[in-house]
């Protein structure tokens, strides 16, 4: 069980990469890191570290299929629901 870290909202939303990741996962569902990198247009290491933060915050979840890891939004998290609403309204 990953321990949830605390991050202020302004700090969380201050990263363009994180916002883009949320948008991409919202539009496409489950993706592996390579595809997220392509869609977001950021380097692997940047996307990976941001995904780790987002996983710790419970914003995204990761499923493993052998060596493949697929990331998706954690729709059970009320913060994710609000973030999605924000994207839709924007």
């Amino acid at each position: 069980m990953i321990e949830e870290r605390n991050l202020e909202i302004e700090e969380f939303l201050s990263s363009k990469t994180r916002v883009k990741i949320i948008k991409v996962l919202y539009e496409l569902g489950e993706l592996n890191i390579r595809r997220i990198c392509q869609k977001v247009g950021s380097a692997y290491s940047i996307v990976k570290s941001n995904l780790e933060i987002m996983e710790e915050l419970g914003i995204v979840q990761c499923k493993r299929y052998g060596r493949i890891r697929l990331y998706s939004l954690n729709n059970n998290n009320p913060k994710v629901k609000l973030l999605i609403r924000l994207i839709e309204v924007w």
């Binding site: 496409l28 569902g29 489950e30 299929y65 060596r67 493949i68």
Partner: protein, 407 residues
């Protein structure tokens, strides 16, 4: 749009003539169309339901492996697909997450990896296409089925291609997969569709016996059965009275001669309708059928040939030329390579290597356009012998020459 004498007339804009057609709904004659009722396959359909009844009543307790065999055009694909559609619907009614997936092994070049990827993409459309071996894909598929509490009936159509391209290993893995998942629900059932049981001889005995427990063999259609099948399609695809009885009879007779091939009959029916439209006939006369027969190869579809890549077409043209000029049944790999190089020169293209040509031969053989076998006695050394049994060489040469000219 107006209707005169049962025929629809379209008012075309400008100089185009008023167009009338014998068709009511052409899509009912499409090769991919699966009729709601399979004429003269009711018993086989019921048998298939019997085999899977338990899977619906107690899901996860038993997985099935069924073989459907029969010659081309005997309704193997349609039977499996209709069963799959109805099975999914029945499962939905019972709140069982059951999926039927029909994969054509030949269209996937007999590659186990591509077949499994198809299955995975059905559940996870964004699953990466690279990075895992076939075995890992199979495990990933089982994980996904567990995660979604889903059951999959995987129909492997034209299984011959898979066995020819990859040997017995994929079938072994698919049938033995469940054994490695002790205590977990049985989620994967197989329907294997193939023409004869011959390719299964390559399988090891235990896999073969597991597979051959439930076989549904489809006999060739008789002329009277073909008449019923054609009649059924005429009703849904043509305007009333547009296809006379004698036309149906001619088609049934021709299809019976092609080994009771209903697919051939339906394609002939569609093409005959097209000839009727092109000539402005109010009905599909038997003469339209005669015209149509000249443009259909009984067992190989023209679009299959045209969808090959340029060098595969060169190779096929080389084979066609050899048999067009020589009445023998088989040509050696050397002869074909030589003719292929001449064609490459003719079209100003660099010929592919021997290994690549050999791969093409295997692919064309897997598709069923050519027949490839290893030479036996009477020939020095071993070579691949290539035959062309399904299409007249002259027709093939003509088709390919035209296609390559267009390219």
């Amino acid at each position: 749009m107006e209707s005169i004498n049962g025929f629809v007339q379209y008012n075309m804009v400008g100089p185009m003539r008023r167009y009338r057609t014998v068709f009511k709904d052409e899509s009912k004659l499409d090769i991919a169309y699966v009729p709601p009722r399979l004429v003269h396959r009711e018993n086989e359909y019921r048998l298939l339901w019997e085999f899977f009844r338990y899977a619906l009543e107690v899901p996860g307790r038993m997985s099935q492996r069924i073989l459907i065999t029969g010659r081309i055009g005997t309704g193997k694909t349609a039977l499996s697909q209709r069963f799959g559609m109805n099975m999914q619907e029945e499962a939905r009614r019972r709140n069982i997450n059951l999926h039927y997936l029909h994969v054509n092994c030949r269209e996937n070049r007999g590659k186990f990896f591509l077949i499994l990827l198809n299955a995975l993409l059905h559940f996870k459309p964004n699953f990466p296409r690279r990075g895992l071996s076939s075995e890992e894909l199979l495990y990933a598929l089982m994980d996904i089925l567990d995660e979604e509490n889903a059951y999959l009936i995987l129909a492997l159509d034209e299984l011959e291609s898979l066995i020819l391209a990859e040997g017995t290993e994929p079938i072994y893995k698919l049938t033995r997969m469940q054994e490695a998942r002790l205590g977990k629900p049985l989620r994967l059932s197989l329907i294997c569709i193939l023409r004869t049981l011959e390719p299964l001889k390559k399988l090891d005995e235990s896999t073969r016996s597991t597979l051959q427990r439930n076989i549904i063999h489809l006999e060739e259609y008789s002329k009277s059965q073909l008449i019923d099948i054609i009649g059924d399609r005429v009703e849904t695809a043509f305007h009333e009275g547009a296809v006379p009885e004698e036309t149906i009879e001619v088609i049934a007779e021709l299809a019976e001669r092609e080994g009771g091939n209903a697919r051939y009959a339906i394609e002939l029916l569609w093409r005959a309708g097209k000839y009727a439209d092109a000539n402005g006939f109010p009905e599909v006369y038997p003469e339209c059928v005669r015209m149509a027969t000249a443009s259909i190869y009984p067992t190989v579809r023209k679009d299959e040939i045209l969808s090959l890549n340029q060098h595969q077409q060169f190779l096929l043209l080389a084979i066609a030329r050899i048999f067009n000029r020589n009445p023998k049944a088989y040509a050696t790999m050397g002869e074909i390579e030589q003719a292929y190089r001449v064609i490459c020169e003719e079209y100003g293209q660099k010929p592919k290597s021997h290994t690549q040509i050999w791969k093409y031969v295997r692919q064309l053989s897997a598709i069923g356009i050519i027949d490839a076998k290893i030479s036996s006695t009477g020939q020095r050394g071993k070579t691949t012998l290539i035959g062309l049994h399904q299409i007249p060489a002259s027709k093939l040469e003509e088709t390919l020459s035209q296609a390559l000219k267009c390219d």
